[in-house]
Protein backbone atom coordinates (compact mmCIF):
# COMPACT_ATOMS: atom_id res chain seq x y z
CA UNK A 1 0.00 0.00 0.00
CA UNK A 2 2.79 2.36 0.98
CA UNK A 3 6.20 1.65 -0.47
CA UNK A 4 9.33 3.67 0.07
CA UNK A 5 12.40 2.83 -1.98
CA UNK A 6 15.79 4.24 -1.00
CA UNK A 7 14.45 7.56 0.25
CA UNK A 8 17.31 10.00 0.79
CA UNK A 9 17.16 13.72 1.48
CA UNK A 10 18.59 16.40 3.71
CA UNK A 11 16.84 18.87 5.98
CA UNK A 12 19.32 21.28 7.48
CA UNK A 13 22.07 19.26 9.13
CA UNK A 14 19.89 16.18 9.23
CA UNK A 15 19.95 13.47 6.62
CA UNK A 16 17.49 10.66 6.00
CA UNK A 17 19.41 7.83 4.40
CA UNK A 18 18.23 5.17 2.01
CA UNK A 19 15.03 4.49 3.88
CA UNK A 20 13.02 1.53 2.59
CA UNK A 21 9.61 0.62 3.92
CA UNK A 22 6.62 -1.45 2.94
CA UNK A 23 3.29 -1.00 4.67
CA UNK A 24 0.62 -3.44 3.61
CA UNK A 25 -3.04 -2.77 2.92
CA UNK A 26 -4.96 -2.37 6.15
CA UNK A 27 -1.84 -2.53 8.26
CA UNK A 28 -1.20 -0.36 11.31
CA UNK A 29 2.49 0.51 11.24
CA UNK A 30 4.26 2.31 14.07
CA UNK A 31 7.35 4.33 13.25
CA UNK A 32 9.47 4.39 16.40
CA UNK A 33 12.61 6.29 17.22
CA UNK A 34 14.10 8.69 19.75
CA UNK A 35 13.42 12.43 19.26
CA UNK A 36 15.36 13.80 16.31
CA UNK A 37 15.68 10.47 14.53
CA UNK A 38 13.80 11.69 11.44
CA UNK A 39 10.36 10.17 11.98
CA UNK A 40 8.49 13.40 11.25
CA UNK A 41 10.70 14.15 8.25
CA UNK A 42 9.92 10.75 6.77
CA UNK A 43 6.21 11.36 7.17
CA UNK A 44 6.46 14.83 5.63
CA UNK A 45 8.37 13.45 2.68
CA UNK A 46 5.69 10.82 2.17
CA UNK A 47 3.08 13.62 2.15
CA UNK A 48 5.07 15.45 -0.52
CA UNK A 49 5.99 18.24 1.86
CA UNK A 50 9.70 17.70 1.29
CA UNK A 51 11.51 17.11 -1.94
CA UNK A 52 13.63 13.97 -2.15
CA UNK A 53 17.21 13.79 -3.29
CA UNK A 54 16.81 10.20 -4.43
CA UNK A 55 14.29 7.43 -3.98
CA UNK A 56 10.69 6.77 -4.87
CA UNK A 57 7.39 6.63 -3.04
CA UNK A 58 4.43 4.48 -4.07
CA UNK A 59 0.95 4.78 -2.64
CA UNK A 60 -1.59 2.16 -3.63
CA UNK A 61 0.67 0.96 -6.43
CA UNK A 62 0.99 4.38 -8.05
CA UNK A 63 4.28 6.27 -7.97
CA UNK A 64 3.75 9.59 -6.21
CA UNK A 65 7.33 10.84 -5.97
CA UNK A 66 6.74 13.77 -8.32
CA UNK A 67 3.15 14.53 -7.32
CA UNK A 68 2.12 17.54 -5.28
CA UNK A 69 0.79 16.84 -1.79
CA UNK A 70 -2.79 17.41 -2.92
CA UNK A 71 -2.58 14.66 -5.53
CA UNK A 72 -1.32 11.99 -3.15
CA UNK A 73 -4.54 11.43 -1.20
CA UNK A 74 -2.92 11.04 2.17
CA UNK A 75 -4.62 11.85 5.46
CA UNK A 76 -2.03 13.73 7.47
CA UNK A 77 -2.40 14.56 11.15
CA UNK A 78 0.69 16.49 12.23
CA UNK A 79 1.92 16.72 15.78
CA UNK A 80 -0.32 18.88 17.98
CA UNK A 81 -2.91 18.47 15.22
CA UNK A 82 -2.45 21.88 13.51
CA UNK A 83 -6.15 22.66 13.51
CA UNK A 84 -7.32 25.79 11.72
CA UNK A 85 -8.05 28.13 14.61
CA UNK A 86 -9.95 30.59 12.43
CA UNK A 87 -12.60 27.98 11.60
CA UNK A 88 -15.14 26.06 13.65
CA UNK A 89 -14.88 22.33 14.11
CA UNK A 90 -17.22 21.90 11.16
CA UNK A 91 -15.16 24.32 9.08
CA UNK A 92 -12.07 22.29 9.85
CA UNK A 93 -13.64 19.01 8.81
CA UNK A 94 -15.26 20.53 5.74
CA UNK A 95 -12.01 22.17 4.65
CA UNK A 96 -10.69 19.35 2.49
CA UNK A 97 -14.06 18.70 0.83
CA UNK A 98 -14.34 22.38 -0.09
CA UNK A 99 -10.80 22.39 -1.46
CA UNK A 100 -11.64 19.39 -3.63
CA UNK A 101 -14.76 21.12 -4.93
CA UNK A 102 -17.29 18.69 -3.52
CA UNK A 103 -20.75 20.24 -3.51
CA UNK A 104 -22.25 21.56 -0.31
CA UNK A 105 -24.95 18.92 0.33
CA UNK A 106 -22.65 15.99 -0.30
CA UNK A 107 -19.99 17.64 1.86
CA UNK A 108 -22.47 18.18 4.70
CA UNK A 109 -23.52 14.55 4.49
CA UNK A 110 -19.93 13.36 4.70
CA UNK A 111 -19.02 15.76 7.51
CA UNK A 112 -21.99 14.52 9.54
CA UNK A 113 -21.12 10.92 8.80
CA UNK A 114 -17.51 11.17 9.92
CA UNK A 115 -18.51 13.30 12.93
CA UNK A 116 -20.91 10.55 13.97
CA UNK A 117 -18.32 7.86 13.51
CA UNK A 118 -15.86 9.72 15.72
CA UNK A 119 -18.47 10.87 18.21
CA UNK A 120 -17.93 14.61 17.74
CA UNK A 121 -21.31 15.52 16.25
CA UNK A 122 -22.04 17.70 19.30
CA UNK A 123 -18.83 19.67 18.77
CA UNK A 124 -19.46 20.71 15.16
CA UNK A 125 -20.39 24.31 15.92
CA UNK A 126 -17.66 24.82 18.54
CA UNK A 127 -14.52 26.85 18.00
CA UNK A 128 -11.09 25.21 18.29
CA UNK A 129 -9.61 27.11 21.26
CA UNK A 130 -12.01 25.66 23.84
CA UNK A 131 -11.48 21.99 22.94
CA UNK A 132 -9.67 19.46 25.10
CA UNK A 133 -6.71 17.45 23.82
CA UNK A 134 -8.79 14.38 23.06
CA UNK A 135 -11.43 16.42 21.25
CA UNK A 136 -8.81 18.15 19.15
CA UNK A 137 -7.38 14.80 18.22
CA UNK A 138 -10.75 13.53 17.04
CA UNK A 139 -11.36 16.69 15.02
CA UNK A 140 -7.96 16.34 13.35
CA UNK A 141 -8.70 12.70 12.58
CA UNK A 142 -12.11 13.61 11.15
CA UNK A 143 -10.56 16.33 9.00
CA UNK A 144 -8.05 13.84 7.60
CA UNK A 145 -10.51 10.97 7.14
CA UNK A 146 -13.41 12.87 5.59
CA UNK A 147 -11.59 13.18 2.25
CA UNK A 148 -11.25 9.36 2.19
CA UNK A 149 -7.47 9.17 2.02
CA UNK A 150 -5.70 6.04 0.90
CA UNK A 151 -3.31 6.16 3.83
CA UNK A 152 -3.44 7.79 7.24
CA UNK A 153 -0.29 9.38 8.64
CA UNK A 154 -0.33 10.25 12.33
CA UNK A 155 2.55 12.21 13.83
CA UNK A 156 2.75 11.61 17.59
CA UNK A 157 -1.05 11.50 17.78
CA UNK A 158 -1.29 10.97 21.54
CA UNK A 159 1.82 12.62 22.93
CA UNK A 160 -0.10 15.86 23.59
CA UNK A 161 -2.60 13.98 25.76
CA UNK A 162 -2.13 13.16 29.40
CA UNK A 163 -1.26 9.63 30.31
CA UNK A 164 -4.59 8.57 31.66
CA UNK A 165 -6.40 9.19 28.36
CA UNK A 166 -3.67 7.86 26.08
CA UNK A 167 -4.66 4.26 26.51
CA UNK A 168 -8.27 4.98 25.58
CA UNK A 169 -7.37 7.14 22.59
CA UNK A 170 -4.99 4.51 21.30
CA UNK A 171 -7.80 1.97 21.45
CA UNK A 172 -9.93 4.37 19.48
CA UNK A 173 -7.21 4.83 16.86
CA UNK A 174 -7.20 1.06 16.32
CA UNK A 175 -10.97 1.07 16.02
CA UNK A 176 -10.90 3.93 13.50
CA UNK A 177 -8.16 2.14 11.59
CA UNK A 178 -10.32 -0.96 11.31
CA UNK A 179 -13.49 0.90 10.48
CA UNK A 180 -11.99 3.04 7.71
CA UNK A 181 -9.73 0.19 6.46
CA UNK A 182 -6.88 2.54 5.75
CA UNK A 183 -3.17 1.74 5.94
CA UNK A 184 -1.80 3.78 8.83
CA UNK A 185 1.64 5.00 9.83
CA UNK A 186 1.75 6.19 13.41
CA UNK A 187 4.87 8.03 14.56
CA UNK A 188 5.80 7.64 18.22
CA UNK A 189 8.74 7.62 20.58
CA UNK A 190 6.78 5.78 23.22
CA UNK A 191 7.04 2.05 23.53
CA UNK A 192 3.88 1.34 25.48
CA UNK A 193 1.89 3.32 22.95
CA UNK A 194 3.34 1.24 20.13
CA UNK A 195 2.37 -1.98 21.84
CA UNK A 196 -1.19 -0.83 22.24
CA UNK A 197 -1.73 -0.21 18.51
CA UNK A 198 0.91 -1.69 16.21
CA UNK A 199 0.69 -4.55 13.74
CA UNK A 200 4.29 -3.93 12.77
CA UNK A 201 6.87 -1.34 13.66
CA UNK A 202 10.11 0.17 12.40
CA UNK A 203 12.81 1.78 14.48
CA UNK A 204 14.64 4.84 13.13
CA UNK A 205 17.91 6.23 14.42
CA UNK A 206 19.65 9.26 12.94
CA UNK A 207 17.74 8.87 9.70
CA UNK A 208 18.53 5.17 9.25
CA UNK A 209 16.07 2.33 9.75
CA UNK A 210 17.51 -0.09 12.29
CA UNK A 211 14.91 -2.84 12.20
CA UNK A 212 11.47 -3.37 10.78
CA UNK A 213 9.19 -6.13 11.99
CA UNK A 214 6.53 -7.07 14.50
CA UNK A 215 7.02 -5.67 17.97
CA UNK A 216 7.62 -9.19 19.26
CA UNK A 217 10.53 -9.46 16.83
CA UNK A 218 11.95 -6.11 17.89
CA UNK A 219 11.53 -7.13 21.49
CA UNK A 220 12.92 -10.63 21.35
CA UNK A 221 15.24 -10.55 18.38
CA UNK A 222 16.81 -7.09 18.19
CA UNK A 223 19.36 -6.79 15.39
CA UNK A 224 21.69 -4.55 17.38
CA UNK A 225 22.24 -3.16 20.83
CA UNK A 226 20.50 0.11 19.96
CA UNK A 227 17.27 -1.74 19.19
CA UNK A 228 17.69 -3.84 22.32
CA UNK A 229 18.26 -0.70 24.41
CA UNK A 230 15.34 1.15 22.84
CA UNK A 231 13.11 -1.84 23.64
CA UNK A 232 14.41 -1.45 27.21
CA UNK A 233 16.27 -4.69 27.48
CA UNK A 234 18.67 -4.28 30.38
CA UNK A 235 20.53 -7.54 29.85
CA UNK A 236 22.92 -7.13 26.96
CA UNK A 237 25.79 -9.50 27.73
CA UNK A 238 29.11 -10.14 26.07
CA UNK A 239 29.48 -13.86 25.44
CA UNK A 240 31.90 -16.14 23.66
CA UNK A 241 31.30 -19.46 21.97
CA UNK A 242 33.95 -21.72 23.46
CA UNK A 243 32.98 -25.06 22.02
CA UNK A 244 31.01 -26.37 19.08
CA UNK A 245 29.67 -29.93 19.37
CA UNK A 246 28.83 -32.17 16.50
CA UNK A 247 25.93 -33.65 18.38
CA UNK A 248 22.48 -32.14 18.85
CA UNK A 249 23.71 -30.42 22.00
CA UNK A 250 24.89 -27.52 19.79
CA UNK A 251 27.40 -25.10 21.29
CA UNK A 252 28.84 -24.14 24.63
CA UNK A 253 28.73 -20.46 25.45
CA UNK A 254 30.74 -18.63 28.11
CA UNK A 255 29.40 -15.55 29.88
CA UNK A 256 31.46 -14.24 32.77
CA UNK A 257 32.63 -17.35 34.66
CA UNK A 258 29.55 -19.26 33.54
CA UNK A 259 29.28 -21.85 30.77
CA UNK A 260 26.15 -23.40 29.34
CA UNK A 261 24.95 -25.24 26.27
CA UNK A 262 22.66 -23.81 23.62
CA UNK A 263 21.27 -25.32 20.42
CA UNK A 264 23.08 -22.81 18.23
CA UNK A 265 25.01 -19.54 18.27
CA UNK A 266 27.18 -17.51 15.91
CA UNK A 267 30.96 -17.92 16.00
CA UNK A 268 33.43 -16.12 18.24
CA UNK A 269 32.62 -13.11 20.42
CA UNK A 270 28.92 -12.30 20.40
CA UNK A 271 26.40 -10.18 22.24
CA UNK A 272 23.59 -11.93 23.94
CA UNK A 273 20.22 -10.46 24.86
CA UNK A 274 17.93 -11.79 27.57
CA UNK A 275 14.75 -9.89 28.41
CA UNK A 276 14.34 -9.24 32.15
CA UNK A 277 10.74 -10.48 32.20
CA UNK A 278 11.85 -13.81 30.65
CA UNK A 279 14.08 -14.71 33.59
CA UNK A 280 12.52 -17.07 36.11
CA UNK A 281 13.70 -17.15 39.69
CA UNK A 282 13.49 -20.30 41.84
CA UNK A 283 14.36 -21.04 45.40
CA UNK A 284 17.64 -22.96 45.66
CA UNK A 285 15.97 -26.12 46.86
CA UNK A 286 13.31 -26.10 44.12
CA UNK A 287 13.49 -28.56 41.21
CA UNK A 288 15.22 -27.13 38.20
CA UNK A 289 12.88 -27.19 35.18
CA UNK A 290 14.13 -29.47 32.45
CA UNK A 291 15.19 -27.88 29.17
CA UNK A 292 15.98 -24.55 30.81
CA UNK A 293 19.41 -23.08 31.38
CA UNK A 294 19.83 -22.97 35.14
CA UNK A 295 22.53 -21.33 37.20
CA UNK A 296 22.83 -19.82 40.67
CA UNK A 297 22.78 -16.07 41.32
CA UNK A 298 22.76 -13.75 44.31
CA UNK A 299 20.32 -10.90 44.81
CA UNK A 300 22.00 -7.53 44.87
CA UNK A 301 19.07 -5.18 45.03
CA UNK A 302 15.28 -5.24 44.83
CA UNK A 303 13.10 -2.26 43.92
CA UNK A 304 9.33 -2.28 43.90
CA UNK A 305 8.05 -0.69 40.70
CA UNK A 306 4.47 -1.28 41.70
CA UNK A 307 3.36 -3.34 38.75
CA UNK A 308 6.55 -5.41 38.85
CA UNK A 309 9.64 -5.92 40.97
CA UNK A 310 13.03 -5.08 39.52
CA UNK A 311 15.62 -7.47 40.81
CA UNK A 312 19.32 -6.91 40.26
CA UNK A 313 21.23 -10.16 40.32
CA UNK A 314 24.84 -11.19 40.36
CA UNK A 315 25.70 -14.38 38.50
CA UNK A 316 29.39 -13.61 37.95
CA UNK A 317 27.93 -11.01 35.58
CA UNK A 318 25.15 -8.51 36.35
CA UNK A 319 21.63 -9.50 35.39
CA UNK A 320 18.27 -7.76 35.83
CA UNK A 321 15.02 -9.65 36.21
CA UNK A 322 11.46 -8.33 36.37
CA UNK A 323 9.06 -10.28 38.51
CA UNK A 324 5.32 -9.95 38.83
CA UNK A 325 4.19 -9.28 42.41
CA UNK A 326 2.41 -12.62 42.48
CA UNK A 327 5.53 -14.63 41.54
CA UNK A 328 7.53 -12.57 44.00
CA UNK A 329 5.22 -13.47 46.86
CA UNK A 330 6.60 -17.04 46.79
CA UNK A 331 10.30 -16.12 46.92
CA UNK A 332 12.69 -14.92 49.64
CA UNK A 333 13.72 -11.63 48.06
CA UNK A 334 16.35 -10.07 50.29
CA UNK A 335 19.66 -8.71 49.05
CA UNK A 336 22.28 -11.38 49.60
CA UNK A 337 19.95 -14.35 49.15
CA UNK A 338 21.07 -16.95 46.63
CA UNK A 339 18.54 -18.14 44.09
CA UNK A 340 18.45 -20.31 41.02
CA UNK A 341 17.89 -18.68 37.69
CA UNK A 342 16.07 -20.51 34.92
CA UNK A 343 16.00 -19.29 31.34
CA UNK A 344 14.44 -21.15 28.45
CA UNK A 345 16.94 -21.44 25.59
CA UNK A 346 14.52 -19.82 23.14
CA UNK A 347 14.59 -16.67 25.30
CA UNK A 348 18.30 -16.18 24.66
CA UNK A 349 18.93 -14.12 21.55
CA UNK A 350 22.23 -13.40 19.86
CA UNK A 351 22.57 -10.04 18.18
CA UNK A 352 23.14 -10.39 14.49
CA UNK A 353 21.10 -13.57 14.14
Amino acid sequence: MIRAENITFRAGAFKLQRACLDVRRGEYFVLLGPPGSGKTLFLEALCGLRRLDTGRFFIDGREVTALEPRDRFVGYVPQDYALFTHLTVEGNIRFGLKAQGIDWEEATRRVDEVADQLGIRHLLQRRIPGLSGGERQRVALARALVVRPKVLLLDEPVSALDESTREAICGELRRVHKQFEVATIHVSHHLEEAFSVADRAGLLRNGVFQQIGTLAELLQKPVNTFVAGFMRCQNILSARVVDRHDTAAGVTVAVGRLRFDLPDAPRGDVQMVIRPERIRLLRKEQDRPTGSICFPAGIRNVTDRGVYLRIELDASFPLVAHLSPESAAELPLHPGTDLTIAIRPECVHFIGC
Binding site: G48, P78, F84, A99
Partner: protein, 272 residues
Protein backbone atom coordinates in the same frame (compact mmCIF):
# COMPACT_ATOMS: atom_id res chain seq x y z
CA UNK B 1 4.00 33.36 31.21
CA UNK B 2 1.12 34.43 33.38
CA UNK B 3 1.37 37.96 34.64
CA UNK B 4 0.20 38.64 38.15
CA UNK B 5 1.94 35.88 40.07
CA UNK B 6 3.33 37.92 42.89
CA UNK B 7 6.24 36.63 44.90
CA UNK B 8 6.41 37.34 48.60
CA UNK B 9 8.10 40.75 48.85
CA UNK B 10 10.09 42.52 51.55
CA UNK B 11 10.62 46.28 51.80
CA UNK B 12 13.65 46.24 49.49
CA UNK B 13 11.60 44.71 46.72
CA UNK B 14 8.84 47.24 47.21
CA UNK B 15 11.39 50.07 47.13
CA UNK B 16 12.77 48.68 43.87
CA UNK B 17 9.34 48.55 42.27
CA UNK B 18 8.54 52.05 43.48
CA UNK B 19 11.76 53.39 41.98
CA UNK B 20 11.07 51.73 38.64
CA UNK B 21 7.48 52.96 38.63
CA UNK B 22 8.69 56.51 39.18
CA UNK B 23 9.70 56.70 35.52
CA UNK B 24 6.27 55.58 34.40
CA UNK B 25 4.68 58.24 36.59
CA UNK B 26 7.02 60.95 35.25
CA UNK B 27 6.46 60.03 31.63
CA UNK B 28 2.70 59.65 31.93
CA UNK B 29 2.33 62.88 33.93
CA UNK B 30 4.28 64.86 31.37
CA UNK B 31 2.24 63.36 28.52
CA UNK B 32 -1.01 64.12 30.33
CA UNK B 33 0.16 67.68 31.00
CA UNK B 34 0.81 68.17 27.29
CA UNK B 35 -2.58 66.78 26.39
CA UNK B 36 -4.24 68.95 29.05
CA UNK B 37 -2.43 72.03 27.70
CA UNK B 38 -3.79 71.32 24.23
CA UNK B 39 -7.27 70.71 25.55
CA UNK B 40 -7.32 73.90 27.62
CA UNK B 41 -5.92 76.06 24.90
CA UNK B 42 -8.40 74.96 22.26
CA UNK B 43 -10.42 77.94 21.09
CA UNK B 44 -13.71 76.50 19.92
CA UNK B 45 -14.43 79.58 17.84
CA UNK B 46 -11.27 78.90 15.84
CA UNK B 47 -12.22 75.26 15.52
CA UNK B 48 -15.55 76.28 14.01
CA UNK B 49 -13.87 78.81 11.76
CA UNK B 50 -11.37 76.24 10.62
CA UNK B 51 -14.06 73.65 10.04
CA UNK B 52 -15.94 76.04 7.80
CA UNK B 53 -12.87 77.16 5.86
CA UNK B 54 -12.87 75.90 2.30
CA UNK B 55 -9.12 75.56 2.16
CA UNK B 56 -9.00 73.37 5.21
CA UNK B 57 -11.91 71.29 4.00
CA UNK B 58 -9.94 70.70 0.85
CA UNK B 59 -6.82 69.84 2.84
CA UNK B 60 -8.79 67.37 4.95
CA UNK B 61 -10.18 65.78 1.82
CA UNK B 62 -6.68 65.61 0.32
CA UNK B 63 -5.30 64.07 3.51
CA UNK B 64 -8.05 61.48 3.60
CA UNK B 65 -7.97 60.30 0.02
CA UNK B 66 -4.21 60.31 -0.35
CA UNK B 67 -3.68 58.37 2.85
CA UNK B 68 -6.48 55.95 1.99
CA UNK B 69 -4.95 55.33 -1.44
CA UNK B 70 -1.56 54.84 0.16
CA UNK B 71 -2.96 52.28 2.57
CA UNK B 72 -4.67 50.34 -0.21
CA UNK B 73 -1.50 50.35 -2.30
CA UNK B 74 0.61 49.40 0.70
CA UNK B 75 -1.60 46.46 1.59
CA UNK B 76 -1.59 45.28 -2.03
CA UNK B 77 2.20 45.20 -1.83
CA UNK B 78 2.40 44.09 1.77
CA UNK B 79 0.45 40.85 1.49
CA UNK B 80 2.48 39.16 -1.26
CA UNK B 81 5.76 40.74 -0.15
CA UNK B 82 5.25 39.82 3.49
CA UNK B 83 4.36 36.27 2.47
CA UNK B 84 7.30 35.83 0.12
CA UNK B 85 9.79 37.33 2.57
CA UNK B 86 8.43 35.17 5.36
CA UNK B 87 8.15 31.86 3.53
CA UNK B 88 10.88 31.67 0.95
CA UNK B 89 14.63 32.09 1.03
CA UNK B 90 16.04 33.23 -2.29
CA UNK B 91 19.24 34.85 -3.49
CA UNK B 92 18.98 38.49 -2.54
CA UNK B 93 16.53 37.79 0.28
CA UNK B 94 18.62 39.77 2.71
CA UNK B 95 18.82 42.69 0.26
CA UNK B 96 15.04 42.76 -0.22
CA UNK B 97 14.57 42.52 3.51
CA UNK B 98 16.97 45.40 4.16
CA UNK B 99 15.36 47.56 1.49
CA UNK B 100 12.02 47.07 3.24
CA UNK B 101 13.64 48.17 6.49
CA UNK B 102 15.31 51.24 4.99
CA UNK B 103 12.35 53.68 5.08
CA UNK B 104 11.82 52.84 8.74
CA UNK B 105 15.26 54.06 9.78
CA UNK B 106 15.62 56.61 6.95
CA UNK B 107 14.87 60.27 7.59
CA UNK B 108 11.58 60.83 5.68
CA UNK B 109 12.89 64.14 4.41
CA UNK B 110 15.53 62.27 2.43
CA UNK B 111 12.78 60.25 0.77
CA UNK B 112 11.18 63.47 -0.44
CA UNK B 113 14.48 64.76 -1.74
CA UNK B 114 15.29 61.45 -3.41
CA UNK B 115 11.94 61.41 -5.19
CA UNK B 116 12.51 64.99 -6.31
CA UNK B 117 15.94 64.11 -7.67
CA UNK B 118 14.61 61.01 -9.38
CA UNK B 119 11.75 62.75 -11.15
CA UNK B 120 13.53 65.96 -12.05
CA UNK B 121 17.10 64.86 -12.69
CA UNK B 122 17.16 61.32 -14.07
CA UNK B 123 16.15 60.37 -17.60
CA UNK B 124 13.69 57.70 -16.46
CA UNK B 125 12.05 60.07 -14.00
CA UNK B 126 11.84 62.87 -16.54
CA UNK B 127 10.41 60.48 -19.10
CA UNK B 128 7.68 59.44 -16.65
CA UNK B 129 6.91 63.08 -15.86
CA UNK B 130 6.76 63.99 -19.55
CA UNK B 131 4.59 60.96 -20.41
CA UNK B 132 1.69 62.60 -18.59
CA UNK B 133 1.83 60.90 -15.18
CA UNK B 134 3.19 63.88 -13.30
CA UNK B 135 4.17 63.54 -9.65
CA UNK B 136 6.26 66.57 -8.74
CA UNK B 137 4.13 69.27 -7.07
CA UNK B 138 1.03 67.16 -7.89
CA UNK B 139 -1.51 65.42 -5.62
CA UNK B 140 -0.35 62.07 -7.07
CA UNK B 141 3.07 62.95 -5.66
CA UNK B 142 1.57 63.03 -2.17
CA UNK B 143 0.51 59.41 -2.54
CA UNK B 144 3.91 58.44 -3.89
CA UNK B 145 5.70 60.16 -1.00
CA UNK B 146 3.41 58.54 1.55
CA UNK B 147 3.77 55.14 -0.06
CA UNK B 148 7.56 55.20 -0.09
CA UNK B 149 7.75 56.40 3.51
CA UNK B 150 4.97 54.30 5.00
CA UNK B 151 4.54 51.07 2.99
CA UNK B 152 7.39 49.46 4.90
CA UNK B 153 5.28 49.39 8.04
CA UNK B 154 2.58 47.38 6.30
CA UNK B 155 5.12 45.04 4.71
CA UNK B 156 7.00 44.42 7.94
CA UNK B 157 3.77 43.81 9.85
CA UNK B 158 2.58 41.37 7.21
CA UNK B 159 5.92 39.56 7.23
CA UNK B 160 5.99 39.14 10.97
CA UNK B 161 2.41 37.87 11.15
CA UNK B 162 3.04 35.42 8.35
CA UNK B 163 6.10 34.33 10.32
CA UNK B 164 3.79 33.49 13.16
CA UNK B 165 1.34 31.47 11.07
CA UNK B 166 2.38 27.87 11.64
CA UNK B 167 3.64 26.42 8.42
CA UNK B 168 2.17 23.07 9.30
CA UNK B 169 -1.29 24.54 8.90
CA UNK B 170 -0.46 25.25 5.26
CA UNK B 171 1.04 21.80 4.94
CA UNK B 172 -2.15 20.19 6.18
CA UNK B 173 -4.13 22.30 3.72
CA UNK B 174 -1.88 21.08 0.91
CA UNK B 175 -2.46 17.44 1.83
CA UNK B 176 -6.22 18.10 2.02
CA UNK B 177 -6.29 19.06 -1.64
CA UNK B 178 -5.42 22.75 -1.69
CA UNK B 179 -3.11 24.35 -4.21
CA UNK B 180 -0.45 26.67 -2.81
CA UNK B 181 -2.73 29.56 -3.71
CA UNK B 182 -5.63 27.84 -1.98
CA UNK B 183 -3.70 27.21 1.22
CA UNK B 184 -2.52 30.81 1.16
CA UNK B 185 -5.99 32.26 0.60
CA UNK B 186 -7.90 29.92 2.88
CA UNK B 187 -5.42 29.44 5.73
CA UNK B 188 -2.53 31.90 5.93
CA UNK B 189 -4.39 35.01 4.88
CA UNK B 190 -7.30 34.70 7.32
CA UNK B 191 -4.89 33.86 10.13
CA UNK B 192 -2.70 36.87 9.31
CA UNK B 193 -5.68 39.19 9.09
CA UNK B 194 -5.16 41.00 12.38
CA UNK B 195 -1.50 41.63 11.77
CA UNK B 196 -2.20 42.99 8.32
CA UNK B 197 -4.85 45.31 9.73
CA UNK B 198 -2.45 46.54 12.39
CA UNK B 199 0.15 47.18 9.71
CA UNK B 200 -2.39 49.04 7.59
CA UNK B 201 -3.33 51.26 10.51
CA UNK B 202 0.31 52.06 11.26
CA UNK B 203 0.80 52.87 7.59
CA UNK B 204 -2.22 55.11 7.63
CA UNK B 205 -1.06 56.97 10.73
CA UNK B 206 2.34 57.52 9.19
CA UNK B 207 0.91 58.62 5.83
CA UNK B 208 -1.72 60.84 7.40
CA UNK B 209 0.76 62.79 9.52
CA UNK B 210 3.50 63.03 6.88
CA UNK B 211 4.96 66.48 6.53
CA UNK B 212 8.67 66.93 5.75
CA UNK B 213 8.98 65.06 2.46
CA UNK B 214 5.77 66.62 1.18
CA UNK B 215 7.22 70.09 1.67
CA UNK B 216 10.09 69.10 -0.60
CA UNK B 217 8.42 66.91 -3.19
CA UNK B 218 4.98 68.48 -3.69
CA UNK B 219 5.26 71.79 -1.87
CA UNK B 220 2.33 73.36 -0.06
CA UNK B 221 0.08 75.06 -2.54
CA UNK B 222 -3.17 76.16 -0.99
CA UNK B 223 -6.06 74.30 -2.51
CA UNK B 224 -3.85 71.97 -4.53
CA UNK B 225 -1.24 70.00 -2.64
CA UNK B 226 -2.09 71.15 0.84
CA UNK B 227 -2.82 68.41 3.37
CA UNK B 228 -3.66 68.80 7.05
CA UNK B 229 -0.09 68.59 8.27
CA UNK B 230 0.99 71.29 5.83
CA UNK B 231 -1.90 73.41 7.02
CA UNK B 232 -0.73 73.21 10.61
CA UNK B 233 2.70 74.41 9.55
CA UNK B 234 1.38 77.16 7.33
CA UNK B 235 -1.08 78.48 9.92
CA UNK B 236 1.47 78.32 12.70
CA UNK B 237 4.18 79.98 10.65
CA UNK B 238 2.00 83.06 10.15
CA UNK B 239 1.19 83.14 13.86
CA UNK B 240 -2.27 81.54 13.79
CA UNK B 241 -1.58 79.17 16.64
CA UNK B 242 -5.27 78.78 17.46
CA UNK B 243 -6.07 77.72 13.93
CA UNK B 244 -3.05 75.41 13.78
CA UNK B 245 -4.19 73.79 17.01
CA UNK B 246 -7.70 73.39 15.69
CA UNK B 247 -6.35 71.53 12.67
CA UNK B 248 -4.09 69.49 14.92
CA UNK B 249 -7.19 68.52 16.86
CA UNK B 250 -8.58 66.96 13.71
CA UNK B 251 -5.37 65.02 13.18
CA UNK B 252 -5.31 63.88 16.78
CA UNK B 253 -8.94 62.78 16.67
CA UNK B 254 -8.11 60.59 13.73
CA UNK B 255 -4.92 59.25 15.32
CA UNK B 256 -6.87 58.31 18.44
CA UNK B 257 -9.44 56.61 16.29
CA UNK B 258 -6.62 54.57 14.76
CA UNK B 259 -5.24 53.55 18.12
CA UNK B 260 -8.60 52.50 19.46
CA UNK B 261 -9.37 50.55 16.31
CA UNK B 262 -6.11 48.64 16.63
CA UNK B 263 -6.90 47.72 20.21
CA UNK B 264 -10.45 46.72 19.39
CA UNK B 265 -9.71 44.77 16.23
CA UNK B 266 -6.64 43.00 17.46
CA UNK B 267 -6.89 42.78 21.18
CA UNK B 268 -3.60 41.51 22.43
CA UNK B 269 -2.76 39.71 19.22
CA UNK B 270 -2.08 42.89 17.27
CA UNK B 271 1.30 44.37 17.96
CA UNK B 272 2.11 47.90 16.94
Amino acid sequence: MPVGDTPVRGWRSILFIAFMSLFVVLFVTFALLLIAADALYIDWASVLKVMRSGYIGHALWMSLWTSATTVVLSVIFAIPMGYVLSRYRFPGHIIADSIVDLPIVFPPLVVGLTLLVFFTQTPIGRWIERSGIEFVFQPKGIVLCQFVVAASFAIRAAKSTFDEVDRRLENVALTLGCTQWGSFRRVSLPLARNGIIAGAILTWARAFGLFGPLMIFVGSFRGRTEVLSTTIYLEQSVGHIEEALAVALLLVAIALFCLITIRLVGGRSVRL
